[in-house]
Amino acid sequence: MLEISGIDTSYGNLQVLWDVSLNIGEGEIVAVLGPNGSGKTTMLKSIMNLVSVKRGKIMFLGQDITGKPIHELTRLGLAFVPEERHLFPAMTVMENLLLGAYTIRNKKIIKETFNRVFELFPRLAERKKQYAGTMSGGERQMLAIARGIMSNPKMLILDEPSMGLAPQNVLAVFETIKKLSAEKVTVLIVEQNVNTTLTVADRAYVMEQGRIVMEGSSSQLQGDDHIRKMYMGIA
């Protein structure tokens, strides 16, 4: 579904990604793991064309999307939930969600998606009229994911969804990811929370210093010595 082949990305003269390739099939949950500053977020920003790729190619559903403006990617069925969330603070939960469905013209589909989102996040249904800027961190993260789902995406890209959340909220977020995948949504997730992520993901890639250093199924990686030492603190 998404195929990244050999991309290099730099910020000015500083090269951050080196020959990164990865592959995600339909309906999969794929995780990209790695320490801070390893280039995970930059890789997502390269997909979404928030930074420009120097070399290599990105294909989505058989279409070359390298360098395509971000608003067109949303129309193709990619939804991006950035770490910084980028919600609309002076708008209500309802308006944020409506904007999530900006690319959808069919009112009936929008209504159905609203029901689906409120089923996933009953908390948001209670707070339709609240301003996004006055919500707690966990609620904002839920709203950001919900806004992504409102576009009825074929693939959801999540950047550090558990960042800054209380443990019970982290669990709720991962539960949601599982539910989404049951609905045939493909998920690409970037995380530092290795333990929990490997319990929901089918496969994972490990990035270090801007390169993919390892890939495998979740169970393979959970048993790997390097992963256990570096990321799980188990000797």
């Binding site: 919600l87 900006y102 800027g133």
Partner: protein, 300 residues
């Protein structure tokens, strides 16, 4: 009515009529600042172009008052769209730093070119009309010309339509989304280029409409935009930048304030009072009277 309440009534009436048009100008200025981060110092020139548009359509082509005013609105909308596409869009592609300063200088340049262009094309003469709608209305022994009343009504209806557009339509929501978080807006699929052009054009439309409405009161003249520009900036400084709703109250407030100063202290004093208040606001409440604290400061 006794003398005092008569005078008060007169102040309120004149002030509100005047303020409605300030509000119309200020809303457009506020919109462009909020959505595009452009401090538009050429806003007054679109007001001037609106006045010329309706002058020519009304006197030379003999359109009716409503169609002249509407044509002025359409004309300034198109000119605004062209200005955005040919001047601000290329600048946006190149300029990453100092955007506000760069666009400030650009708008100042546009303003000088448009003022002198108008002078070259149409000369340094006042071109006005006596009245769109002849006649006056008497309210409690005050005579108010039909044009003032119609102007105020058109301004209020336009602002109401505009408010509905921003709050109840998908396009309007997208404009507000861009003003709150540009990246967030493009993530949900909003094409920023379209929104920028539309926003600038709409802002010019509001200014052009104000110029057209006021044609019988202030005739078309190349440098007529300077005063309304300063007045709209005054409104923005008073209520806070980029706060569209508050600029409506702000416009009315400034209208009342000026009329009060004019009637109490005499002609010429209204500017002294306005500028003194601007200085006080900038010293004591630099974010404006109605800066949206609760919502905006909690944002990420």
């Amino acid at each position: 009515m006794d003398m005092d309440s008569m005078q008060l009534f007169n102040i309120v009436l004149t002030g509100v009529l005047r303020g409605g048009l300030y509000a119309l100008m200020a809303v457009g200025l506020s919109l462009v600042f909020g959505v595009m981060n452009i401090p538009n110092f050429a806003h007054g020139e679109f007001y001037m172009l609106g006045a010329y548009f309706s002058y020519f359509t009304y006197t030379y082509f003999h359109f009716g008052p409503i169609s002249s005013i509407l044509l002025a609105a359409v004309g300034t909308f198109i000119l605004g769209a062209i200005a955005e596409k040919t001047l601000f869009y290329p600048l946006r592609k190149r300029s990453k730093k100092n955007w506000i300063m760069n666009t400030f200088l650009l708008t100042l340049g546009i303003s000088i070119v448009l003022q002198n262009g108008a002078k070259m094309l149409w000369g340094n003469t006042y071109r006005g009309i006596t009245q769109y709608w002849p006649g006056k209305v008497s309210i409690a022994s005050f005579n108010i010309s039909n044009d003032r009343i119609a102007g105020f009504c058109i301004a209020m209806v336009t602002i109401a339509i505009f408010w509905l557009f921003l709050n109840k339509t998908t396009m309007g929501r997208a404009i507000r989304a861009v003003s709150q978080d540009e990246t967030g807006a493009s993530i949900v699929g909003v094409n920023l280029n379209v929104i920028h052009t539309l926003t600038f054009a709409l802002s010019c439309l509001l200014a052009g409409l104000a110029g057209a409405i006021l044609l019988s009161i202030s005739p078309a003249y190349p440098f007529m935009g300077v005063q309304p520009l300063y007045k709209s900036w005054f409104v923005l400084i008073l209520v806070g930048m980029g706060n569209i709703g508050a600029s409506i109250y702000g416009g009315l407030l400034v209208g009342l304030l000026e009329t009060f100063a004019y009637m109490k202290f005499g002609s010429g004093w209204q500017d002294v009072v306005s500028l003194a208040i601007i200085i006080m606001i900038l010293i004591f409440k630099p974010r404006g009277l109605f800066a949206k604290k609760g919502v905006k400061s909690v944002s990420e």
